[in-house]
């Protein structure tokens, strides 16, 4: 995932610096990243059917639509057309980023999903310092998730200026930006849980912590 994203942004920087000869750069397309586990591996917390649709259909659509929007962006010299593409690029590019981070945020129980980091871990210390305990952090995130009006995500992030942990909500597929580094993201779109949990989204928010990959969160925290 990181590779394809880096490639894309590097290519876009290249594009901006080679305006006079726009034909020379070749941009790598965004692609669906590999899943590190089987579709059924997060059961019973997230069903295999949800995972398969979410990854092969929803995420794939964000990837395809992002590539289409970028192709249009690059093939027009009309600034008005470029500006009108911003919303599509943000939405589908954000959908690609968010889901790529999300799959890595999760792990089957046998691969460490749900396993809290020990007391020496820097992330554990930061969580205890700010929220008291993992349980209190999870409670605070679930409160934010429940408050989303419509589609969106809740993220545990690190403020790269202060080093502090924060919990932020993002609407629709708006990606985490600015000073914030995403550590753990929970998808609160209905497609993420509806086939299994229906309208009882609070049960999904409780269950998903059984498969959260805290080692990945710490890797991002220390990066």
């Amino acid at each position: 995932m990181a590779m394809s994203l880096l490639r894309t942004s590097a290519a876009r920087r290249a594009m901006m610096s080679t305006r006079s000869s726009p034909a020379v750069f070749a941009r790598g397309k965004a692609t669906l990243p590999d899943l590190d586990y089987d579709f059924g591996a997060l059961e019973p917390y997230i069903s295999g059917q949800i995972m398969e649709l979410h990854y092969t259909k929803h995420h794939q659509t964000y990837v395809n639509s992002y590539n289409t929007a970028i192709e249009k962006f690059e093939s027009t010299s009309d600034v008005r057309a470029k500006v009108e593409l911003q919303s599509l690029i943000n939405f589908h590019g954000g959908g690609h980023l968010n889901h790529s981070l999300f799959w890595k945020n999760l792990a089957p129980r046998k691969a460490g999903g749900g396993e809290l980091l020990d007391s020496k871990s820097p992330l554990t210390k930061a969580i205890q310092g700010k929220y008291g305990s993992y349980d209190q952090l999870i409670g605070a995130i679930n409160t934010q998730l429940a408050a989303i009006q419509g589609s969106g995500w809740t993220w545990l992030v690190k403020d790269s200026n202060s080093g502090d942990l924060e919990i932020i909500n993002k609407a629709n597929q708006d990606p985490v930006t600015g000073p914030y580094i995403p550590l753990v993201g929970i998808d609160a779109w209905e497609h993420a849980y509806y086939l299994q949990y229906k309208n009882v989204k609070a049960d999904y928010f409780k269950a998903i912590w059984n498969v959260v990959n805290w080692k990945e969160a710490e890797k991002r925290f220390l990066a």
């Binding site: 419509g150 969106g152 609407a171 209905e190 497609h191 086939l195 229906k198």
Partner: protein, 221 residues
């Protein structure tokens, strides 16, 4: 705090839960009405009760912090109440635009050239919604005098924002939240967007076009 007289309640569906099959399944209709719509009503009443308390003590910060909850849950109640009534079982006379709403049909043709052209525009608007929201056919006051001073527009609203911006009158709405179709259509929202036309109640839409919504539905307690 809340007594029956000063609380909103879930309006009954004007048809059975399975009446819209095969276009919308009974399972979707049951959850959508009994759980989702009920939750908006419950949360709206709770927010209004809290608002009365805050008003009584002139607690301005509390009043301000309740506004978004009232908008979201009040909008959810309004949108779903309009939606149930602008649907009808497939095959019923109400679902035939030409015979059920001739005036509205003429206005659609004069605005978009043909009914098919209108449908294509509306479907594109529905599929273009990013996240949760609704698509609406609305009537606005026209600047010129075409169609008796009425102008039709296709608009989309996000989340549960209600469709009453700038005095526009909603004729019918299509719910594009995933809970409205996912159990049946999964990620194929284009399938839902193609099928929904079989259950649009054009008779109700036509009545709203002629006379507004006040005669049909009220959101007053």
């Amino acid at each position: 705090m809340t007594s029956a007289a000063d609380a909103y309640s879930l309006p009954p569906l004007p048809y059975a839960y399975d009446a819209l099959e095969p276009v919308i399944s009974a399972q979707i209709m049951t959850l959508h009405h009994q759980k989702h719509h009920q939750t908006y009503v419950t949360n709206l009443n709770a927010a209004l009760a809290a608002h009365r308390t805050a008003s009584a003590t002139n607690d301005v910060p509390a009043i301000i912090s309740l506004q978004q909850k009232i908008k979201f849950n009040g909008g959810g109640h309004i949108n779903h109440s309009l939606f149930w009534r602008n649907l009808a079982p497939p095959g019923q006379a109400e679902t035939d635009l030409v015979t059920a709403a001739p005036e509205l049909k003429d206005a659609i043709v004069s605005r978009w050239g043909s009914v098919d052209a209108f449908l294509e525009k509306f479907k594109l608007a529905l599929l273009g919604i990013q996240g949760s929201g609704w698509g609406w056919l609305v009537m606005k006051d026209a600047v010129d005098s075409t169609n008796n001073g009425k102008r039709l527009e296709i608009v989309s609203t996000k989340d549960q924002d209600p469709p009453f911006i700038d005095g526009q009158v909603p004729l019918f709405g299509v719910d594009m939240w995933e809970h409205a179709y996912y159990l049946q259509y999964l990620n194929n929202k284009a399938g839902y967007v193609n099928e929904i036309w079989k259950v649009i109640n054009w008779k109700v839409a036509g009545e709203r076009y002629v006379g507004g919504i006040e005669k049909e539905i009220t959101f007053k307690l």
